[in-house]
């Protein structure tokens, strides 16, 4: 199986992306079961790879049988398989949520089996793109899969119609600029080394003497990927995109999209380009920008009245935190960054599924719409509460642990950047306390009558979220709780690979 899994992991989503719309076009039936099965299979492949990489070491896979640097290689170590697991897992939930058709979201066009199939295909394509980015060991291949994921994401964003098309277009401009900047940087690297393979690059870069050209390359790549990762101040596309995306897709995009780009940043800047002077400087700058993003995202989240927009700004804060970890680059910081990716993905996915569903069904996005939901749907709200507590960083949820790692890494790093990061992370928790407790208080302790314009007669009693959204919300909340407590085994698999990888590269550097 170890030989088959890498190929299956990257091929299955693409096959599915064609198969599901094909089935929908040919038979005009719902493709729910087919899509769910495919996602489950992809997740199984990711899980298998994770255990395989953990048990028997990293896997190098030469696609087409051509070894690098001539062919394209895939690389599955603890790090990449962990992110792959996260993407594939979130995709299962998102696919489940897609049954909550756009017809329940009032802005979107009517749904038909064909349209449903197309949207499911787009989700599979998005998953395929993200998994491709995660798996690849080739800088150009990374660009191709970045674009697959981007196009699929634009599709999903725009599927809400109306304002979401404008959000999607702006996202498209930002995303394409990001992709082009990245590709330009890859061009510089190729001109300097003649190779596209990451290992080969890392080996050949130390002997390159063109410092200015290398700096330009590093900066172009860093800026390009930072746009996709929504690093402050390149985050402009994010709030509208997350807010106007239809709920099922928003839960997935908000959860993993930017994080995979952060992962790519980590791979390239933290590993491949780590030996270059420019790389080190850029990483240092990234810490500071991350600090700025953490604070700005938190402050602006407090300023929001609409729940989903608040969640979007909170994502900018979280991405800042992840990139602080990436920038520091110590084993502890990387653990923190990875952990925060996982913790934030699970919690933010949960919150977006929940908040989006409530927005659609309660006809509004304000905090007041949450009033009294606690007594109408205690279990759903309990799940959302767990996710919100994780965002704040209250133990024993996953968010507490990631913050713990990042804080210890900041202290270990020391210096002004370390202190600033330390203070910013604490501050972001405080801000998160403010903006999440506002919502929780409304949900649990207020009654709809408190809100001036709300009339309780219009609202149907009974469950708040339909099952396609409630199941992911509850499932993710359970994972948020478990991830924190059972994270040590995961960490033990991920870190040694990373350390040996960076050690190998720094050993090869003169």
């Amino acid at each position: 199986m170890r030989e088959l899994l890498p190929g299956l992991l990257v091929a299955l989503p693409l096959v599915g992306a064609a198969l599901v719309p094909l089935v929908a076009a040919l038979f005009r039936r719902t493709t729910r079961v087919a899509a769910l099965t495919l996602h489950a299979a992809i997740f199984a492949a990711a899980l298998g790879l994770f255990w395989s990489a953990a048990a028997a070491g990293p896997i190098r896979y030469a696609v087409g049988g051509w070894p690098g640097p001539w062919g394209i290689e895939l690389w599955f170590d603890g790090l990449s398989t962990l992110i792959a697991l996260l993407v594939a897992g979130m995709a299962c939930f998102a696919s489940f949520a897609q049954t909550f058709g756009p017809d329940r979201d009032r802005t979107a066009p009517a749904s038909t089996p064909l349209r449903e199939g197309l949207l499911r295909g787009a989700l599979l394509l998005l998953v395929g793109g993200l998994l491709g980015i995660v798996a690849t060991r080739d800088v150009f291949n990374l660009f191709v899969f970045l674009e697959i994921s981007s196009l699929a994401a634009y599709t999903l964003v725009a599927s809400g119609g109306g304002r979401s098309t404008v959000a999607a277009f702006r996202y498209l401009l930002a995303g394409t600029a990001a992709g082009s900047l990245y590709l330009f940087g890859v061009g510089f690297l190729y001109a300097l080394t003649g190779t596209l393979n990451m290992d080969d690059l890392a080996a050949r870069l130390p002997s390159v003497e063109a410092d200015a050209a290398l700096t330009v390359a590093v900066v172009l790549i860093a800026v390009g990927l930072s746009i996709k990762a929504a690093l402050f101040p390149l985050h402009g596309w994010l709030p509208d995109t997350y807010v106007y995306t239809p709920t099922p897709a928003a839960g997935f995009i908000a959860a993993v999209m930017a994080k995979v780009s952060a992962y790519a940043l980590l791979r390239l800047l933290g590993e491949v380009l780590a030996g270059t002077t420019a790389g080190a400087v850029v990483l240092e700058i990234m810490i500071w920008l991350g600090v700025a993003g953490v604070v700005a995202g938190g402050v602006l989240a407090v300023a929001q009245r609409a729940v989903t927009r608040m969640l979007a700004w909170s994502s900018i804060s979280a991405m800042g935190m992840i990139l602080i970890g990436v920038g520091m680059g110590s084993a502890l910081a990387i653990t923190g960054a990875l952990f925060h990716m996982a913790a934030h993905a699970l919690a933010k996915g949960c919150l977006f599924f929940g908040a989006g569903g409530i927005r659609a069904l309660e006809d509004g996005d304000g905090v007041d719409r949450w009033a009294g939901l606690g007594s109408r749907a205690p279990w759903t709200l309990a799940a959302l509460t767990v996710a919100a507590l994780s965002m704040i960083g209250i133990p024993p949820t996953a968010g507490f642990f990631s913050k713990y790692y990042l804080l210890s890494a900041s202290i270990a790093a020391g210096g002004p950047a370390g202190i600033a990061a330390f203070a910013a992370i604490i501050l972001s928790s405080l801000l998160a306390t403010v903006y999440f407790l506002r919502v929780l208080e409304a949900a649990w302790f207020r009654t709809p009558g408190d809100a001036p314009e709300a009339d309780s007669e219009r609202r149907p009693p009974g469950p708040v979220l339909p099952r396609p959204l409630a199941v992911p919300v509850v499932g993710l909340a359970v994972l948020v709780l478990l991830t924190g407590i059972f994270a040590r085994p995961f960490e033990r698999h991920v870190l040694p690979d990373w350390e040996s990888g960076t050690a190998r590269i720094s050993a090869e550097a003169p």
């Binding site: 190929g7 076009a25 009517a110 599709t155 401009l173 510089f188 080394t193 003649g194």
Partner: protein, 275 residues
């Protein structure tokens, strides 16, 4: 993109006046250190690429080195590329599907076919030639410039030509347009595109079934000479790409033209457009 929402135009221009020259200067400064243009001793010319030039024919059976790299050495990239174009088709279908928007004012040239006797006659002669040439470009991609993408685009442009002259496709939802259309329906184009992706990935997975890596055509049981086997498989790949590209070009043209003309592309007949 992160620009202020109003009153920010002047700020934006001022920022631009500072930032863009800086960007240009930075790029040029970096470029000054790159190997000279046309330098045969540059890393790009000496490190990885020589194998593609010197061994491609022996290893993959393709005289066109670009095709060899595209479809074989870096076949995985090309699968991704095919997925990108498929994603665009999928995206247009989703985005332009019937939504609650107001119908457009008819845009000139797209609202009804150009049809006239001369155009009609010319098209009848030209289209078969274009379509045939597309297939030629596909098959000949091995030894001359060409391949699945180029052939697919040509084939698609033949379809577009027919659309322009004879009117739009029917959406494949049972509602026939006033003017009977020629060529695949929108649904048909979609099926073509899907089939292409499936074919490509299918060849890759078949290689896995015979014990190779994903997309390692050399393991396919198509003959004894590995280079020849790879050549045949590459043709299959190119054909798959051809299908996807042709289908997607059809989808793109149809959705955008229908989308500009009507309130949306009808996707199935269960429910009509809202509003």
């Amino acid at each position: 993109m992160g620009a202020p929402r109003h009153g920010g135009t002047r700020v934006r221009w001022l920022l631009g006046a500072a930032a863009f020259p800086a960007l240009f200067l930075g790029l040029v400064l970096g470029m000054a250190e790159l190997p000279e243009f046309g330098d045969p001793g540059s890393p790009a010319s000496t490190h990885v690429s020589p194998r593609f030039i010197e061994d491609a024919a022996a290893e993959t059976g393709a005289a066109n080195m670009v095709t060899a790299v595209l479809a074989d050495y870096r076949g995985y990239d090309t699968l991704g590329e095919t997925a990108v174009i498929f994603a665009a088709g999928l995206g247009c279908l989703v985005i332009l599907a019937a939504a609650g928007g107001r119908p457009n004012r008819p845009a000139a040239g797209m609202s009804h076919p150009f049809g006239s006797v001369i155009l009609d006659a010319a098209t009848r002669i030209l289209v078969p030639v274009v379509l045939l040439f597309a297939v030629y470009v596909l098959i000949h991609g091995h030894i001359s410039p060409g391949g699945g993408f180029q052939g697919g685009v040509l084939f698609g442009s033949g379809l577009i030509m027919m659309r322009l002259v004879w009117g739009p496709a029917h959406a494949g939802d049972g509602q026939q347009p006033e003017v009977p259309a020629f060529g695949p329906s929108l649904r048909g184009s979609l099926i073509l595109a899907c089939a292409g992706i499936l074919g490509y990935a299918g060849i890759g997975l078949a290689a896995m079934a015979f014990g190779g890596e994903f997309l390692n055509y050399g393991t396919l049981p198509l003959g004894s000479d590995p280079a020849h086997v790879r050549e045949l498989a590459t043709l299959g790949i190119e054909a798959a790409v051809f299908l996807t590209v042709a289908g997607t070009v059809g989808v793109l043209f149809d959705t955008i033209s229908i989308g500009m003309r009507e309130s949306g592309v009808p996707l199935g007949s269960e429910r009509g457009p809202r509003e």
